[in-house]
């Protein structure tokens, strides 16, 4: 059911990243470039077709100051409602779990319970509070996540966590749906003589007209 992290990047190529000019330098890596972060991506059996990775995890070794912006669509998916609730209670987070395959949107109370179940399971495995776990989902609207394959994959996913570029790449592939390329970038710059890094990954190809707040 799983493919290892360093195979993930072979499924789709990386996107060209059009960074604006500025006093920053692009460096290798994505979400793992900054100090304290690990990432992993693997196939967990959630996608309807193919074996492209479909589960990603990003963790922080310490309580990370957390911010979120979310769709203003009134019909918001269960993980969106969950994350908004978590970030109203907590200013920090330790992990972000992302699945591709099912969006868990328009799935009602059962879909929300699925998010809670995933968060609780991950929090136990990581030994952190459920209020420090954030969840994102993407895929087919109207379908609940395939919870059993997801829960069964969590121990393997955690074992794959890495500070490496490969870990970041695997995660960036695992969150894609109809994307033809994965999107990941990291930069480095200095503030007051201290080196700071920012990294990131994103996915999106269709149903794209964000209005997040």
């Amino acid at each position: 059911m799983s493919s290892v992290a360093n195979e993930a990047a072979t499924f789709i190529p990386a996107a060209p990243i059009f960074l604006p000019q500025g006093p920053w330098k692009q460096i290798a890596g994505g979400v793992t470039a900054a100090e304290g972060f690990k990432a992993a991506g693997m196939y967990g059996g959630l996608r309807a077709l193919g074996q492209k990775p479909d589960l990603a995890l990003v963790t922080c070794d310490v309580d990370a100051v957390a911010a979120g912006t979310f769709t203003k669509n009134v019909v918001a998916a269960a993980p969106v409602l969950y994350c908004k609730s978590v970030l109203e209670k907590s200013k920090t987070a330790r992990a972000v779990l992302i699945n591709a395959g099912q969006a868990n949107a328009a799935t009602g109370d059962a879909g929300y319970q699925d998010v809670i179940d995933c968060s609780n399971a991950l929090s136990k495995l990581l030994q952190v509070s459920p209020d420090e776990i954030l969840i994102e989902s993407t895929g087919v609207i109207g379908q609940r996540i395939k919870k059993e394959p997801l829960l069964n994959s969590l121990p393997k996913l955690i074992s794959l966590l890495s500070t490496s570029v490969e870990g970041a790449d695997a995660a960036s592939v695992a969150i894609t749906t109809t994307d033809l390329v994965s999107k990941s970038v990291a930069v480095e710059f200095e503030v007051g003589g201290t080196r700071i890094r920012i990294g990131g990954m994103a996915k999106g190809s269709g149903m794209i007209h964000p209005n997040m707040g």
């Binding site: 006093p23 994350c83 994102e136 930069v187 503030v191 700071i196 996915k203 999106g204 190809s205």
Partner: protein, 220 residues
């Protein structure tokens, strides 16, 4: 659907970080469009570990905060542009820049209106330098401006100035679009609506037959 995770080792106060993230999202992900459909799941999560050893950033207007904001903007814009570039069925990225508005927000709204226009997007796929559709989309953005101040350029080719259409080299303009499409490159549309200080940018992609094909087959 748009999903993203941003990480940094900057040491930043939670309230300041949340404001900075919203500002950066407004300048990047909220300025892209592929098909005009706002997802149920769009989410950006941004985490700051504080492990860089830097001084804590808490005041938004401090020089350090401005530096961090600029870098955050850049990272999010890089990712956002890649999403528009990878729009379903797209052959090119469209970058719409607006200057001369009263504020950044007004310029951004006009830019996104043009980037969202199905007729403008289809014209670009058809390699048609259709300044009329661009002007139309700018005009219905909901931001009042003097139509006699409207200026539109496609790449380096000026199509309209002072609200008047110009006799531009149509084949050169069409070729500019064709070359961008053939190389999956970038089409730049520059619009000026006056002499105000507000500037804004939005990103989209052209609209091809493949968009319908992909979404006719991707069921709910």
């Amino acid at each position: 659907t748009l999903l993203g995770v941003i990480t940094t080792d900057a040491l930043v106060d939670a309230d300041a970080w949340r404001k900075m993230v919203q500002i950066a999202v407004n300048r990047s992900f909220n300025q892209i469009t592929v098909d005009g459909d706002t997802s149920t799941n769009d989410t950006i999560v941004a985490l700051a570990s504080g492990l860089s050893g830097s001084n804590k950033i808490s005041a938004l207007h401090s020089p350090e905060a401005k530096q961090l904001q600029a870098c955050l903007d850049a990272v999010m814009q890089g990712l956002a542009k890649s999403i528009a570039w990878d729009g379903e069925g797209a052959t090119c990225l469209i970058e719409v820049s607006v200057t001369g508005a009263s504020s950044e927000a007004e310029a951004a709204k006009i830019a996104r209106s043009v980037a969202s226009s199905s007729l403008t997007k289809a014209a670009i796929y058809g390699r048609d330098p259709n300044w009329g559709r661009i002007a139309c989309a700018a005009g219905y953005a909901g931001i009042p401006f003097d139509s006699n101040a409207l200026r539109i350029a496609l790449g380096d080719i000026l199509l309209m100035d002072g609200g008047q259409p110009l006799s531009f080299d149509r084949s050169a303009a069409s070729n500019y679009l064709k070359e961008a499409g053939d190389a999956h490159g970038t089409v730049k549309i520059q619009i000026s609506i006056g002499d105000g200080p507000g500037t804004g940018v939005a990103w989209g992609c052209d609209l091809s037959y493949d968009y319908v094909k992909i979404n006719a087959e991707y069921t709910t």
